[in-house]
C-alpha cells in the first residue's frame, strides 16, 4: 500500500489572544496503519505545534470528551480512523458550546447546567436502609433505564442540532433523553405534572422541530428519535390534562 500524505485544516483560536482572529491552519503528516484522530492530533502537538489544544480522556469512545466537527459532521475524534477520511480533512470545534481554544470546548459546563435544569437525580423521600435487601426491579426495566443512561454527554447531538444552534436555552436531545431516563425509573417519584414543569415548554421537548440530526449523529447509538417521541407523547398528554384541571 502506498503511504498517503494527509492534510488537516484545523481551526486555531486562543481566547487569550483575541487580536488573532480564528483561522484554519494546515498540517501535513504521513498516514500509518490503524491511525485514529487521537493519534493524529497527539502527533501534531508533540511533533509540530505544542500549543495545539484539544480534549481526549479515555480515547475509547466511553468518556465523551473529544466531540468535534470532522469535515462538518459532529463525531468523536477518538473513534474516527484516518482510513475513512479523504486526503484533506477539516477539523472544527463543536458549535453551541463555549470555545476554550482551538478544538477544545466546554461541554462539561453545558451538561452540568442541563443536569440541574432537568433535576437529573432520583427524586424520592425514601431513606436508605443498610440492613434491608435491595428493592426488586424487573431486569427489563433496568435495561430500559440503562438504554437512556448510556448517553456519554459528548455533545454531538447538540452541536449538530439546528434548534440548539439558534436557541441557546434549548435542552436538546441529550436533555430530553435525560428526562426519559428518570421517567422510566420507578424509583423516581416525580409525577407527570412535575416533569411537565421541567420540559413541557419551548426550551424543552416542544422546542424540537424534528430534523433528527441528533439520532444520526449519536456516536454511541442512543435511540434519540424514540426517546424524543416517548417524552413528547407523555408531555403532550400531561399538558392536555394539565390544561383541563
Amino acid at each position: 500500500m502506498i503511504e498517503r500524505e494527509l492534510t488537516f485544516r484545523i481551526m486555531r483560536y486562543n481566547p487569550d489572544e483575541p487580536e488573532k482572529k480564528p483561522h484554519l491552519q494546515e498540517f501535513h503528516l504521513t498516514e500509518e496503519p490503524g491511525m485514529s484522530l487521537f493519534v493524529v492530533l497527539n502527533k501534531l502537538r508533540e511533533e509540530q505545534d505544542p500549543t495545539l489544544r484539544f480534549d481526549f480522556v479515555c480515547r475509547a469512545s466511553i468518556c465523551g470528551s473529544c466531540g468535534m466537527l470532522v469535515n462538518g459532521r459532529p463525531t468523536l475524534a477518538c473513534k474516527t480512523l484516518t482510513k475513512d477520511l479523504p486526503d484533506v480533512t477539516t477539523l472544527l470545534p463543536l458549535p453551541v458550546f463555549k470555545l476554550l481554544g482551538d478544538l477544545s470546548v466546554d461541554t462539561g459546563v453545558w451538561f452540568r447546567d442541563m443536569s440541574f435544569r432537568t433535576e437529573s437525580w432520583v427524586h424520592t423521600d425514601e431513606t436508605f436502609d443498610p440492613d434491608a435487601p435491595e428493592k426488586r426491579m424487573d431486569n427489563a426495566v433496568a435495561l430500559e433505564i440503562y438504554e437512556a443512561e448510556r448517553c456519554i454527554e459528548c455533545g454531538c447531538c447538540i452541536g449538530g442540532c439546528a434548534t440548539a444552534n439558534i436557541k441557546p436555552d434549548f435542552i436538546g436531545a441529550a436533555g430530553v433523553n435525560r428526562v426519559a431516563r428518570f421517567m422510566v425509573d420507578p424509583r423516581d417519584k416525580r409525577t407527570e405534572r412535575e416533569y411537565f414543569e421541567v420540559v413541557g415548554n419551548e426550551d424543552g421537548v416542544f422546542g424540537c422541530i424534528g430534523l433528527m440530526a441528533c439520532d444520526d449523529n449519536c456516536p454511541v447509538g442512543v435511540p434519540l428519535r424514540d426517546q424524543l417521541a416517548y417524552v413528547r407523547r407523555k408531555m403532550a398528554s400531561a399538558g392536555w390534562r394539565y390544561q383541563k384541571v
Binding site: S61, G108, N139, A142
Partner: protein
C-alpha cells in the same frame, strides 16, 4: 506579587471520579462544605471506563449461592498473595454489599436476576425464581463464587453518573479543568493545595481543614496502558513531593491479560468471565494446560504471566506490534455479545475493524492498575502528614496487596468512599483551619517560579514530550511482567539520569493561558519521581509475590519479604528512600493460592 484566586472550604477533594465523589457525598451529607477539584468534567473520569463490575457478596445469582463476606475475604487475601492488610480487607468485604445496595437506592440500574435459564461453558444454569429482580452477578477471575455486580456493559459509567447525580443533588461545588500542583504543608500538617486552572492557566490557592487525594491511577507512566490519558499519577507525586508522605508498594503493578492490540484499549474481564477462551497461534486453548482448575479465570497476574510464558515458548501470533494471543468469544453468540458485552463489540469495531461475533480478538497483557499509592491507615489518613487523606486507586489502603482481583477496584472506590468519607467527616468536624498566609504564599510562589522558568527556558531546553517517551519506554522495557536484577538496575540508572534532565525542561511554545505543553512540563518531573519509586522498589524486592515477578527470585519469600515497601522522597534528595513495614495478618496465615506458579511451577506446564 501576581493576583490569584483563593478558596476556603472544610474539605478539599482532589479528583472527582468514583472514590472522590463518594467521599465528598459522605462529607457533604454530614453538613460539611466540600470542593471537588477535577482535571476534567467529573463524568469523564476514568471510573466511567470500568466495564466489568464491582464485587460484593450478595449471593443472589444461582452461581453465587452460598457466597458471603467470608468467601470474598478469602478470595481477596489469596489474590493479594497475602500482601494486603487483612483488617482492611475484612472491613471492605463486610461493607461492599451495603455499598452496592446504596448505589441501587440512588439510581444505578444494576442488572437483575431473571427467571430465564442461561448456558455457561456448556452447562445450563437455572436461577432461583425466588430471587428474580434482585441484583445479579457475573463471574470474574480469582473468585470462588460469581460475585461481580454489573450494569450490562457499563458498570463504571452508571455508577459514576449516579454518584455525580448525588453531587448535583447535594449542591457540592465542583471546579473542573483544574489541576493541583502541590500540597500546602509545613511537613507536619496539610492545609490545602496550590492548583492551576487548565482553562486560563491561572494559579489558585485552596485552603481546607482536610485535604483528600483521590486522583486515581498512574497507568500512563507506562506508554502502553489501558488507562485514560489523564491517569498520570498526579496525586501520588503531590504526596511524594511533601518529602514526608510515603508511597506504598509501588512495585506492585497489574497487567491486564487482555489489552486490545495495538491501541491497548481494555477488553473487560467480563469477556472471560462470561465464558471467553484464550487461543494461541494454532487456535489451541492453552490456559487449561497451565491452570487446570481456574483456566482463563485465574487471577490477573497469573493469566498475564501464562500468556507471556506461552508467547515466549513460541506460540504467539506474530504482528507488527509484537506477538499476541487471541481472545475468542464467538461461541457466546450475537445476542449475548451485543447486550452484556456490547462495549467489547463496539471497541473491536471502532478501533480494530473486527466483529467479535465472528472474528478473533488480538490481545496482549497491558499495564492496567497500580496496587500501590499514597500509604494510609485503615481510616484513610495518609502516613506522615496530618489532615491529609487518600483513597481509591491513588491510595495504598491496602486492600489489594500485590495483586488486585477484577471487580475489587470499582468496589473499593465506593466502599472506601463510604468508609473513609465518614472518617473524613468525623475528623473535619473537630478540625480547625489555622493556616499562615505566608505559608500559602510561599507554596504559590514556588509554583509561579516554576511556570516562569519553564516559559523562559531558564534552566534548559529539554523537550517535555521527548523525556516523557523515554520514561514510558524505560518502564515498559525494564519494569514489566518479567523482571530481573540487571534490567531493573538499568531502569533505575536511566530514571536517575532522566530525573536530572527533567530539571532542565524548557517550553517550545509560549506557555500562555491553558497551554497543553506547560501542563505537561509542570507534571513530568513528578511523574518521573513516581516511576523511580516503582523501579527502585522492584529492584529491591528479591522475591516474587502477586504481580511482582522476579525471574531471578521466582518464589515468594515470606521469611524475608512478607512486608510492604514504603518509598519516601526526602526534600532535596535525588532518589527515593525505601523503608519497610509488616503487613497486618489477622485471620489468614500465608498459604497456597490454588493457582499460579506455586501450585504448578513454570516448568511443570507443557503446552
Amino acid at each position: 506579587m501576581s493576583r490569584y484566586d483563593s478558596f476556603v472550604t472544610d474539605v478539599l477533594v482532589i479528583g472527582a471520579g468514583l472514590a472522590g465523589e463518594r467521599a465528598a457525598v459522605e462529607a457533604a451529607t454530614q453538613g460539611l462544605n466540600v470542593i471537588l477539584l477535577s482535571l476534567v468534567p467529573p463524568r469523564r473520569s476514568h471510573s466511567s471506563a470500568a466495564q466489568g463490575g464491582m464485587q460484593a457478596a450478595l449471593g443472589n445469582s444461582a452461581m453465587g449461592k452460598g457466597d458471603s463476606p467470608d468467601v470474598h475475604f478469602a478470595d481477596t487475601v489469596k489474590g493479594s498473595d497475602w500482601g494486603c492488610d487483612q483488617d482492611v480487607a475484612r472491613l471492605f468485604v463486610e461493607t461492599a454489599p451495603i455499598a452496592v445496595r446504596e448505589m441501587a437506592h440512588w439510581g444505578v440500574p444494576w442488572t437483575r436476576v431473571t427467571k430465564d435459564e442461561h448456558v455457561y461453558d456448556g452447562k445450563v444454569i437455572h436461577e432461583d425464581p425466588e430471587n428474580a429482580g434482585l441484583i445479579t452477578a457475573r463471574n470474574f477471575g480469582g473468585t470462588a463464587k460469581w460475585r461481580t455486580c454489573y450494569t450490562s456493559d457499563g458498570a463504571g459509567h452508571t455508577l459514576l453518573y449516579t454518584l455525580d447525580s448525588m453531587v448535583l443533588r447535594l449542591g457540592i461545588t465542583v471546579h473542573d479543568r483544574v489541576e493541583a500542583l502541590s500540597l500546602i504543608h509545613d511537613s507536619e500538617r496539610c492545609y490545602g493545595a496550590v492548583a492551576r486552572c487548565l482553562r486560563t492557566g491561572e494559579l489558585r490557592a485552596y485552603t481546607a481543614k482536610t485535604t483528600v487525594i483521590a486522583t486515581g491511577g498512574y497507568g500512563r507512566l507506562y506508554g502502553a496502558s489501558t488507562n485514560a490519558i489523564i491517569n498520570e499519577g498526579s496525586g501520588l507525586s503531590l504526596a511524594l513531593d511533601t518529602g514526608v508522605v510515603p508511597l506504598g508498594n509501588m512495585e506492585a503493578v497489574q497487567f491486564h491479560p487482555t489489552g486490545l492490540v495495538p491501541s491497548w484499549i481494555l477488553i473487560t474481564e467480563g469477556a472471560r468471565g462470561d465464558g471467553g477462551y484464550l487461543l494461541d497461534k494454532n487456535l489451541h486453548r492453552f490456559m487449561p494446560d497451565y491452570e487446570p482448575a481456574k483456566k482463563e479465570l485465574a487471577s490477573r497476574d497469573v493469566v498475564s504471566r501464562r500468556i507471556m510464558q506461552h508467547i515466549r515458548a513460541g506460540y504467539g501470533v506474530e504482528s507488527p506490534y509484537g506477538d499476541h494471543v487471541w481472545l475468542d468469544i464467538r461461541h457466546l453468540g450475537a445476542e449475548h455479545i451485543n447486550t452484556n458485552l456490547r462495549e467489547i463489540a463496539t471497541i473491536c469495531k471502532n478501533f480494530r475493524g473486527i466483529d467479535p461475533v465472528k472474528d478473533l480478538i488480538p490481545v496482549r497483557p497491558t499495564q492496567h492498575y497500580g496496587m500501590g499509592g499514597v500509604r494510609t491507615n485503615i481510616d484513610g489518613q495518609a502516613y506522615g502528614l496530618k489532615n491529609l487523606f487518600a483513597l481509591g486507586e491513588a491510595a495504598c489502603w491496602d486492600l489489594h496487596g500485590f495483586n488486585r482481583l477484577g471487580g475489587n477496584s470499582l468496589a473499593e472506590t465506593v466502599v472506601a468512599g463510604k468508609i473513609i468519607g465518614e472518617q473524613i467527616a468525623k475528623f473535619t468536624a473537630e478540625a480547625s483551619l489555622d493556616v499562615k498566609s505566608s505559608l500559602v504564599e510561599e507554596h504559590l510562589h514556588r509554583q509561579m517560579d516554576r511556570v516562569t522558568r519553564l516559559r523562559e527556558s531558564r534552566d534548559g531546553t529539554e523537550y517535555v514530550y521527548d523525556l516523557r517517551r523515554e520514561m514510558e519506554q524505560i518502564l515498559s522495557h525494564h519494569v514489566g511482567i518479567f523482571r530481573s536484577e540487571d534490567s531493573l538496575q538499568d531502569a533505575v540508572n536511566q530514571l536517575s539520569d532522566l530525573h536530572e534532565r527533567a530539571q532542565r525542561l524548557g517550553l517550545r511554545g509560549g506557555g500562555h493561558g491553558g497551554d497543553p505543553e506547560l501542563d505537561a512540563a509542570l507534571r513530568l518531573p513528578g511523574m518521573i519521581r513516581v516511576a523511580y519509586c516503582i523501579a527502585k522498589g522492584a529492584l529491591a524486592r528479591k522475591e516474587s509475590r502477586g504481580s511482582h515477578f522476579r525471574e531471578d527470585f521466582p518464589h515468594r519469600d515470606d521469611a524475608n519479604w512478607l512486608n510492604r515497601t514504603l518509598a519516601y522522597w526526602p526534600e532535596g534528595a535525588d532518589e527515593p528512600e525505601l523503608r519497610y513495614e509488616p503487613v497486618k495478618i489477622t485471620e489468614s496465615p500465608p498459604g497456597d493460592r490454588g493457582y499460579g506458579e506455586a501450585t504448578r511451577g513454570p516448568d511443570s506446564a507443557k503446552p
